[in-house]
């Protein structure tokens, strides 16, 4: 099972029936994500990147094609907790402390209290929130709340992280700091990551591969490998190879025939 890809999508499509007719949100998506690989999905609104992530997470069901997570159907993978997920909104439960929020997935899996306490301490350390575990979400800044959400997504030690624009609502400085932390966390945990974003620099900085998508109907147009043979640190953001990749992704985004939809 360890040789199975973290995600394998073959001919995946999604159609939303509406009153005015069917909307094709996603069509004919083929994508493999290797274990430990960091893949970003980027594209304009309506390109189906979030839809694809929701299909992988089994939050919605694919209309066509097959989806496998570590060789299992998406629904099985969800029930087995093979992935952790973070959203654009932190989605913390306001009546629970930070520690209780991080432990929520473990509580759902009926992990014992002693084990939960131990795991929460590890995770709080990992995301740098050790001093805040007894606080409540409304006492934390947006960036800190998003760290809690990331810690929570890691609680069950998943080998796959699904992230839907987790830094989308944060200011640029917080965002860059959390990006650097995420690459470190992904490397430390060895988890594969599927990361939805609409920020080109973010996608380039974080990913091993950037998957460029376009709308109407949502599909994959290009896949750009960005393997930098160096650690991802702040110096990378100012290197020429980084700028070259940013330009390459930008041209891939704008060069597709469907970009006009993005410019309206």
């Amino acid at each position: 099972m360890s040789t199975a890809p973290a995600v394998r999508a073959a001919g995946v499509g999604k159609i939303f029936p509406t009153r005015t007719g069917d909307v094709v949100a996603l069509t004919d998506v083929d994508l493999d994500v290797a274990p430990g690989e960091f893949v970003s999905l980027i594209g304009p609104s309506g390109c189906g990147k979030s839809t694809l992530l929701r299909l992988i997470a089994d939050l919605d069901a694919a209309t066509t094609g097959t989806l496998e997570i570590f060789g299992k159907p998406a629904a099985t993978a969800r029930l087995d907790q093979d992935y952790g997920m973070a959203f654009q909104q932190a989605g913390l439960l306001p009546w629970r402390t930070i520690a209780e929020n991080i432990a929520l997935p473990l509580e759902i899996q009926r992990v014992t209290k002693a084990e939960r306490t131990e795991r929460v301490a590890e995770l709080a350390e990992l995301v740098g929130l050790t001093d805040f575990v007894q606080r409540y979400p409304d006492q934390l800044s947006g960036g800190m709340q998003q760290r809690v959400a990331i810690a929570r997504s890691l609680a069950a030690r998943p080998k796959l992280l699904l992230m839907d624009e987790p830094f989308g609502a944060l200011d640029e400085m917080t965002r860059e700091r959390l990006q650097a932390e995420l690459t470190r966390i992904a490397a430390e945990t060895g988890a594969a990551v599927v990361f939805v974003t609409h920020s080109i620099p973010e996608a380039v900085f974080l990913s091993d591969r950037v998957v460029v998508m376009s709308p109407r109907p949502g599909r994959i147009t290009t896949v750009i490998p960005t393997r930098f043979d160096r650690i991802r640190d702040e110096a990378l953001r100012e290197s020429t190879e980084y700028f070259a990749k940013v330009t390459e992704v930008r041209e891939a985004l704008h060069g597709t025939p469907a970009t006009r939809a993005n410019e309206r």
């Binding site: 907790q81 997920m85 009546w95 759902i108 409304d138």
Partner: protein, 260 residues
């Protein structure tokens, strides 16, 4: 996460002192009219006479307070339980919501006083059931409306999170839906508590057994014993106050954490 906003509220001591001051002034005017000027209308005794009656007749006021208080409590609990059950049903299935919504709207506009003589006669002169039923109906509506709203306040991101965490339906209810709805339930109960007391008391004016605060007020007012009638009114106020304070406290405990 509150910003350093200018605090426009009154200082703490003034927030307590101001209403107390108004009450004292009112009381002084009352004493002035009744005791000093001796210009009181009929049936308005001195506040001292009322207090005196309240303490000397406590042995007959207390049992009637217990009767009315129990009726209100039974009605509040029954109405609340029924409201929670039906709201849960309505929240879980659209068709049931469609069936219940107009019924509850109809129930909400029925003047409770209109039903009271009928219910009292229906369940007989020796039963408290009619009064309790009136209190239950009065309590039902605000609890139902609030709980139904509360059960629909979970956010999509929270529901996705629970699903992504492989939570069962029961777990989703326990970890998300119930805690979200709880403050709404408590608000509903706080509103319903006052209504239940008022309804249980007013119901006594329309028959049923010859006990309870309302019955006593009516009979002593008719027989001209003003101070004693007022002492029973004071008893009614105390019941209402007790219900209000307890339910307000419950509400406060449940809303300590505002949503993010």
């Amino acid at each position: 996460m509150s910003t350093a906003r200018v605090d426009r509220r009154l200082p703490a001591w003034l927030r307590v002192a101001a209403p107390a001051g108004v009450a004292l002034i009112g009381l002084a005017v009352w004493v002035l009219i009744v005791d000093v000027a001796d210009a009181a209308p009929r049936m308005l005794p001195s506040p001292f006479a009322i207090l005196e009656e309240f303490f000397t007749r406590w042995s007959i006021i207390a049992p009637d307070m217990a009767i009315t208080g129990t009726n209100a409590l039974v009605g509040l609990v029954a109405g609340t339980v029924l409201a929670i059950l039906l709201a849960a049903l309505a929240a879980s299935a659209r068709p049931i919501d469609g069936m219940l919504a107009p019924l509850v709207a109809a129930l909400a506009v029925i003047p409770i006083v209109a039903l009271t003589p009928i219910l009292n006669t229906m369940f007989g002169a020796s039963s408290q059931f009619g009064r309790q039923a009136v209190a239950a109906i009065a309590a039902f509506v605000p609890v139902f409306v609030n709980v139904l709203r509360g059960l629909r306040q979970t956010r999509p991101v929270q529901r996705d999170l629970l699903r992504a965490s492989a939570a069962s339906r029961a777990q989703t209810f326990r970890f998300l839906t119930l805690p979200t709805a709880l403050p709404y339930l408590m608000s509903g109960i706080r509103i319903a508590a006052s209504l239940a007391v008022i309804s249980a008391l007013v119901a006594e004016y329309f028959g049923g057994p010859a006990d309870g605060i309302g019955t006593a007020i009516a009979s002593y007012a008719k027989s001209g014993r003003a101070a004693l009638a007022w002492a029973f009114v004071l008893g009614g106020i105390l019941i209402g106050l007790l219900f209000f304070l307890v339910t307000s406290l419950l509400e406060r405990l449940s809303t300590r954490r505002a949503p993010v």
